[in-house]
Symmetry: C2
Subunit: 281 residues, 2 copies
Amino acid sequence: MNKIINVGLVQMYSTASAGDNLTRAAQHVRLLAQRGAKIVALPELFLTPYFCQTRDKKFFDLAEPVPGPTVRVLQAIAKKNRVVLTTSLYERAGGKYYNTAVVIDADGKYLGKYRKMHIPDDPKFYYGEAYYFSPGNLGVPVFKTRYGKIATLICWDQWFPEGARLAAAKGAEIIFYPTAIGFQLKARPGINEAEHQAWQTIQQSHAIANGVFVAAVNRVGLDNHLRFWGTSFVADPYGRVLKQGSVNREEDILVACDLNLVPQMRRDWPFLAARRLKVEQ
Amino acid sequence: MNKIINVGLVQMYSTASAGDNLTRAAQHVRLLAQRGAKIVALPELFLTPYFCQTRDKKFFDLAEPVPGPTVRVLQAIAKKNRVVLTTSLYERAGGKYYNTAVVIDADGKYLGKYRKMHIPDDPKFYYGEAYYFSPGNLGVPVFKTRYGKIATLICWDQWFPEGARLAAAKGAEIIFYPTAIGFQLKARPGINEAEHQAWQTIQQSHAIANGVFVAAVNRVGLDNHLRFWGTSFVADPYGRVLKQGSVNREEDILVACDLNLVPQMRRDWPFLAARRLKVEQ
């Protein structure tokens, strides 16, 4: 069976205008769909600037129900372009706030959500997310889309092998990581490069450990104290980076993923089957 | 406090003569100790050829109690050279057989053992270990040595992030992986390199995810269907490879490891502290 699926990553910047961000996102999705993309991912919280670099009560106004107004727009975009669509949004629910990934099928159907479990909170507010988000309480769901089973974990989750393991154990063929990560502007010789390389290495390792594709879609551009480092990429189940974006340009990245490699790799290297230590959801 | 510890890896081949292997291992330990090594690791099952490439009842004769005769020799070597020593041995116990790592302190004291949990068993008998070894039943212990807290997982364990996570959660500062992994002699264009790179990537990822040093010590040389690929290495808590051995030479690799980096990294990148999914022992 042909299971070669074109995955599209929208590596983009976000401005203070949600309308502008949504318009550009829609253009990128359309262009990727025209090139054959079947599953398209947008960066973490693409609708807004990365507001977690300061504490300001006003930013809670950016939160919305999920599903809600933005999901409805994304559903229309997915349906019009016949693509599966995933990203993260700022969700409010029951007086709480979450960083929430959504998955929409290629017919526009809303398939569900995942709430980011691992919330970074450094002392200097490069990624001061604990003020804005509660840790996710929905476990690690997997979504059966028209073009494959996918999971969408979010940014800091990418440093924790447990989430990827659960996603794969539940059948994910591709794990998406909508991301907003960048270099601190303060010079730290050697450290920036080490962190950037580690970010790629650990996600490659999830592909290897689980026999899945991993797709990281990051922002670019300067935003307050961070210069987002782009370099969105897709790794195959060997951990090989198939294609990678630039460090500084808004661009569409289209990657053909042969999903037949997932069962094939898991038989050659049965790490998922042979694991003897259980990760608890 | 000065916690810069010199780690020595003995990248070696093994012949059919246990006496020869033990003599060469002792020479390497002595040379490394003379150069300042404080913790020295030998490859997986260094005492014997890698017999798991065929099924033959005679190889069960190679098993011994642990602690037992070889541990006593290793204790003498450790004490004489004032180094912590770790490797794996073929253990028999209660009618069962295990691939068992031992840790001996720098005064020659036997500190304990770990039994390999993940047993590879491919259909073509490159690594046909299930005939020879039961899966380990001792969990993932951590050993407090004179020169740091260490864990010793074994070869195929290195593909499973859960073991490294448990070791780090119990306080390991360095995780050792005595290893016997190599290239199949049959030509597989592209695959050999992909597997070799993945082997390094996944171990680097354990360093990153847990803020620990990772030390992989592998065999070299041709043995039946495998050409062991050497390239023993130590990665720091950023996942950076500090030093790496050749692909084909028996050699000693000495690496200065600043164990102060362990708590430092775990504060800059608190992945170990912030994890929200539990690995069950």
